[in-house]
């Protein structure tokens, strides 16, 4: 196979920036009793915390003049405003309104992060977020292919 047949040829480039933040949480729904919360969520119903690592991946063609898909300082600025200021050293249950009716599982948290970033970035630019909750667990949210 020659290099012209490289599978990625003609596809958009992907660029990723990582951020870290530390957050406390518990899986707890206000509509349920304490007993029901504990039965459904086990030890996750107790307050605990994670060092989250988030990979933000955008896709596109590099600008002919700047050679950049997007200026990484713009991603940094959006990440600071949409993610860090909301979640870093905060409590997902007490300091945000997103998790009263759904628990802050990594699936739900990563979906929320995808939609916050997607609304703040130029349309269609965000390709994926990967949220690492610990060294051995992460969640990917990919833009739907439709």
């Amino acid at each position: 196979m020659g290099k012209d047949e490289f599978r990625g040829k003609g596809r958009a480039l992907r660029v990723t920036r990582s951020i870290h933040f530390s957050t406390s949480l518990r899986y707890w729904l206000d509509d349920l009793s304490e007993q029901e919360n504990r039965k459904r969520f086990g030890q996750d119903a107790d307050r605990h915390g994670h060092n989250y690592r988030l990979e933000i991946t955008v896709q596109g063609e590099p600008d002919a003049d700047t050679g950049m898909v997007i200026n990484l300082s713009q991603i940094k600025e959006v990440a600071e405003r949409e993610i860090m200021s909301r979640f870093d050293h905060k409590d997902l249950n007490l300091d945000t309104e997103y998790f009263t009716r759904i628990p802050p599982t990594p699936e739900n948290f990563a979906s929320l992060i995808f939609s916050l970033l997607d609304q703040a970035l130029p349309e269609g630019l965000l390709d994926r977020v990967r949220l690492h909750q610990s060294a051995d667990l992460y969640v990917d949210v990919l833009r739907s292919q439709s």
């Binding site: 599982t105 990594p106 979906s111 667990l137 990917d140 949210v141």
Partner: protein, 138 residues
């Protein structure tokens, strides 16, 4: 699409040699990996599943259940074993490629039987320098 990935590891021994080939032929193809006494690796596994979020728990799968599935489908069979002596290896050489195919088939079946999720991808890391992926997640 949402994918949940868990990482696992296990230690196992293997010999890269095709039993129907001569020793010289195996040396030529597999090099030092054909050493009849074997060698081993700390294999890393990244198991990615996808599926609907459970309405009550907000999860694709409970991480503890995925741990049980990995134990049953992979770790119990292959951890601290000489892979060449374990089914279905033997004439099927236990390369990282074949380990990925065998383990992804077993994981896919067990995930399907025991949860509402499905296996999306398996990555098998053999050394810090090489890994094999089988699945749809890029």
């Amino acid at each position: 699409m949402i994918y949940l990935t868990r990482r696992y590891s296990l230690a196992a021994a293997h010999v890269l040699a095709q039993p129907s080939f001569s020793a010289d032929e195996n040396d030529r193809i597999f090099g030092k990996c054909a050493n009849p006494g074997g060698h081993g690796h700390d294999y890393g596994f990244e198991v990615s599943v996808t599926g609907p979020l459970d309405e009550e728990t907000g999860q694709i799968i409970a991480p503890g259940l995925l741990d049980e599935i990995f134990e049953e489908a992979v770790a119990r069979r292959f951890s601290h074993r000489l892979l060449n002596e374990e089914v279905p290896f033997g004439s099927l050489v236990p390369t990282a490629e074949n380990i990925a195919r065998v383990c992804s088939a077993a994981l896919a079946e067990t995930v399907e039987n025991r949860s509402t999720a499905r296996l999306a991808q398996l990555r098998v890391t053999e050394t810090p320098r090489n890994f094999v992926e089988h699945g749809e997640l890029v």
